[in-house]
Amino acid sequence: MVRGLGRAGIAAIHHTGRGGMFLASLVGGMGMMVRRPRLLVQQIHAVGVMTLPIILVAGLFVGMMLGLQGFNTLVGFGAESSLGLAVGLFLTRELGPVLTALLFAGRAGSALTAEIGLMRATQQLDAMEMMAVDPLPRVVVPRFLAGVIVMPLLAALFSVVGLFGGYLVGAVLLGVDGGTFWSSMHEGVDVVHDVLAGVFKSFVFGFVVTWVAVFEGYSATPTTDGVSRATTRAVVTGSLAVLGLDYVLTAIMFSEV
């Protein structure tokens, strides 16, 4: 058992090391994006558009849930006028970046892993290499950069739609004054401390989730089973990394101590 644990530990360290080397290669291949920005635009469209509907729907429901739960909690203290503040802080600081990243890992991350993994399994990447085309800058870098760019935008949209959902339930359905809802949010939510911190979080999450997704796809065993396992691994690793990093970033950025 000890031997097995040791072996698994070494394998995990080896895998992480390879991931680091892979990231360095990605950075090295980014020069191509300057010469061929169209590749990046195509991927931003593909990654962003295919994830947008799920983000908007989820954002609306989460905002509505926050409005309802927030009202039920605050009304007991006679503080329902602070509903806008509560919804705003929850969304911009935490739920916007984190839930968007989790949904992104499940939707776009898994698609990226499967797409690149299948290209590996069907020898498309080998064919590119034999055509003297490096698949890393041609295939992987545009997808990686697209994920990093798109994630903060999706998180921002999630939060905006979520705020609207919170307003819908809190102000329209439950009777909180609309002006109070927005003004409490306006006074309590700080652009730098809350909004930009959330944007920074979503950028970090996008970086990690997309890195894990493209790495797992690129290094997938070139079989159906290998691609399947790589896709699962990408979603699980990406999601856990988001939750772990969220705690670390929250502790660094919002700790009062």
Binding site: Q123, Q124, D126, A127, M128, E129, M130, M131, A132, V133
Partner: protein, 264 residues
């Protein structure tokens, strides 16, 4: 010589494939590499293309030693090579036209108009000019193989490698591919290396043949000379005999002992 393998040792982890393999492939003409599954035929193409590195010895292609090249040098050499993969490896997100145009776009600064002309010429050579706007998923096996062939010759390479080009094709498509390999090789003045298990097709287009078994060349020569060999292991492969030097049964313990083990 276009390709030379000199005392090449190669193994996958602990499984040796070649030990001190020497092989010379002449410039021009079609060289066919034949042999049973797992004898190292496709590995040979990977070594020639620089996708694998030998443990010992060297591989020389067009007077360049592959091991001495860095990535840039290797890619530069590969621009003079074309490869047809066993399962075609067409880029699934690109149309037939874009698949053939892909290497031209990547390696030249030709105008869109000129690229269109070149692609149409290549597609006409394989009889698929009319299918240029189809996606790979809309092609039959034979059509996909022909598109892959058009892509392999897009940059007018000096060497084209074919990995099992006849596998999974109906007799008509096989005949088409046989004819295309011969015609393209002669018309474009290329050299071709064809790795195949299909004896009839392989012998019909070969100018020179190597028969592999267990990682070594057991027979070589013109198709007629190879077909006349009396070596039992070569005959078993060429005649498709189920049993012979390559045993039908995987090594196992005694059958009776295995069946009645524990019964008394």
């Amino acid at each position: 010589m276009l390709v030379a393998l000199n005392s090449v040792d190669f193994s996958y982890a602990d499984t040796p494939v070649y030990e001190s393999l020497d092989l010379k492939i002449p410039r021009g003409g079609i060289t066919v590499i034949m042999g049973p599954s797992g004898c190292g035929k496709s590995t040979l193409l990977s070594l020639i293309g620089g996708r694998l590195q030998p443990r010992c010895g060297n591989v020389v292609v067009d007077d360049v030693e592959i091991q001495s090249l860095d990535k840039r040098g290797l890619y530069h050499l590969r621009r003079r090579m074309g490869m047809l993969f066993q399962f075609n490896a067409l880029l699934s997100e690109l149309s037939v036209f874009e698949n053939v145009a892909f290497p031209i776009r990547e390696h030249t600064d030709l105008s869109a108009e000129l690229i269109e002309h070149l692609v149409k010429i290549k597609l006409e050579m394989v009889g698929l000019r009319g299918a240029s706007q189809l996606m790979p998923s809309e092609l039959s096996g034979g059509m996909a193989r022909r598109v892959a062939l058009a892509r392999a010759i897009a940059l007018d390479p000096v060497l084209v490698m074919y990995d099992e080009p006849f596998t999974g094709l109906d007799p008509i498509s096989k005949g088409v591919i046989v004819q295309l390999i011969r015609e393209l090789n002669d018309a474009l003045g290329m050299s071709s290396i064809v790795v195949t298990q299909d004896v009839a097709e392989g012998l019909s287009i070969a100018d020179y043949v190597f028969v592999f078994a267990a990682g070594e060349v057991i027979v070589e020569g013109t198709p007629e000379a190879v077909n006349a060999t009396l070596r039992p292991d070569a005959r078993q492969f060429l005649d498709g005999l189920p049993d012979g030097p390559v045993a039908y049964h995987y090594p196992a313990s005694d059958y009776q002992v295995d069946l009645f083990q524990g019964e008394s």
